[in-house]
Amino acid sequence: MLEQYIPIFLVITIALIFAVVTVFASKIFGPQRPNKSKISTYESGMQPIGTTNERVSIKYYLVAMLFIIFDLEVIFIYPWAVQFKKLFGELGISVFVSMFIFLVVLELGYLYAYKKGGFKWD
């Protein structure tokens, strides 16, 4: 059964080699003449002000956390979706109802985050 994964490993190896070679190609072919103004940070021609080690808006962390919660639900739904037709023939409507209840609970969490302003960008 593991035979079907051989092409995947080959693709990954070739893609890795391709990526590394492409990135380092210009190190070999291109000129290397750095000077102070060339390697300074780009800021529309002005002298760069401050650093980038500044604080990031909390909203991005919120999005990241909401993503982890809801993306897990996606993976949870896939096995049910693949088995649905077969299980519906055996067990009837309960297959649908159980997942429907789960989705309702998920939607309650979604509505809670909505009401708390989790998706608000201003």
């Binding site: 079907q4 990526a19 990135v23 072919f29 003449r33 940070t41 990031v56 999005v63 088995q83």
Partner: protein
């Protein structure tokens, strides 16, 4: 087939598909510029070769011979790894996308897909999620404010739309009963998924636009405010890597849309044409590429027709419209299956 034969056959397929992908990327850039020129009543590239047909190669050689500038504030290692991740993701994902039915060459039954695995859809989802790292690393490691803002925006955007993308695929799995792309295509031999579940089709296409950072969702590269976004501090082949990856991702997104929703290589009336075995195969492979080309043209057409969203509109659309719609789609498909069975 034994192990050696599998390795030889898959190496031939990989070289073939990699070649096709690279050529398509090169000419996609050319056609994007030509279509942009038509949309704006210009001529477009027409100097290098006949009608500018050699322009993509001239561009690649120009970038290859440029100096690779690493800014002083940059984290050198992460700065080099980011474009590698982008390229790696762009050139591994195509492995599970089937372009045609099995063919018989020299007595071997060969499937027209590099890796015929039973978890193909998960493989695509996993790799496209990895693509977020490339942009986040690029933004963070450059040491420039524009890059940082572009990188953070982009990662928030991509993970938001990944959820509605995942839920839309749920509807396809309900009908196909498999995660294997070939099974998904064969389940649409009679009726395309785009017709059975139009909501899922629309949410998937919109999410695909957001995942590939194309207009109207190209906030990470919004030129008027962020210069080049996450690739502001990249030059030479590192920049070319991001550029290549963006167009390769467009091709993969089109191929996934065709595979999941537009019936892959199947056309509803193909059996009534009365073609013999091998001609039918040729016809089906051609139909796959024609559909993919139409999707790619749609990507470019949208870019030159619709203005860019504001960032809060984009996040609102993702969380408040796309996410509920894709959930409704799953319930819709489940109800349809229950009624028809």
């Amino acid at each position: 087939m034994n192990i050696t034969e599998i390795i030889i056959v898959s190496l031939i397929k990989i070289v073939f598909v990699l070649g096709i992908t690279l050529l398509t990327v090169a000419y996609l850039v050319y056609f994007e510029r030509k279509i942009a020129a038509w949309a704006q009543n210009r001529i477009g590239p027409n100097r290098v070769g006949w009608q500018g047909i050699l322009q993509p190669f001239a561009d690649v050689f120009k970038l290859l011979l440029k100096e690779d500038i690493v800014p002083e504030k940059a984290n050198r290692i992460v700065h080099a790894i980011a474009p590698m991740i982008a390229l790696f993701v762009a050139f591994t994902t195509y492995a599970v996308i089937p372009i045609g039915p099995n063919v018989n060459i020299f007595g071997y039954d060969i499937s027209l897909v590099v890796a015929d695995v039973n978890m193909g859809v998960l493989y695509v989802l996993a790799l496209t999620s990895l693509g977020v790292y490339a942009i986040t690393f690029a933004g963070w490691s450059s040491g420039s404010k524009y890059s940082l803002l572009g990188g953070i925006r982009s990662s928030a955007q991509m993970i938001s739309y990944e959820i509605s993308m995942g839920f839309s695929i749920g509807g396809v799995l309900l009908l196909a009963e498999s995660l294997r792309p070939i099974d998904i295509v064969n389940s649409q031999a009679g009726l395309w998924n785009a017709i059975i579940q139009p909501i899922g089709f629309i949410t998937f296409v919109v999410s695909a636009f957001a995942e590939t950072n194309r207009l109207p969702f190209d906030l990470p590269e919004a030129e008027p405010e962020l210069v080049g976004g996450f690739h502001t501090e990249y030059s030479s082949m590192k920049f070319a890597g991001f550029f290549l990856a963006e167009y390769a991702n467009m091709i993969i997104a089109s191929a996934m849309i065709v595979t999941l929703y537009l019936g892959g290589w199947h056309l509803p009336f193909e059996q009534s044409l009365g073609l013999s075995g091998s001609w039918l195969t040729v016809f089906q492979i051609t139909s796959f590429f024609v559909k993919m080309g139409a999707m790619l043209f749609f990507f470019i057409w949208v870019r030159w027709s619709i203005p860019r969203f504001r960032y809060d509109q984009l996040m609102n659309l993702g969380w408040k419209v796309m996410f509920p719609l894709s959930l409704i789609n799953i319930i819709w498909v489940a109800v349809i299956i229950m009624i028809t069975n």
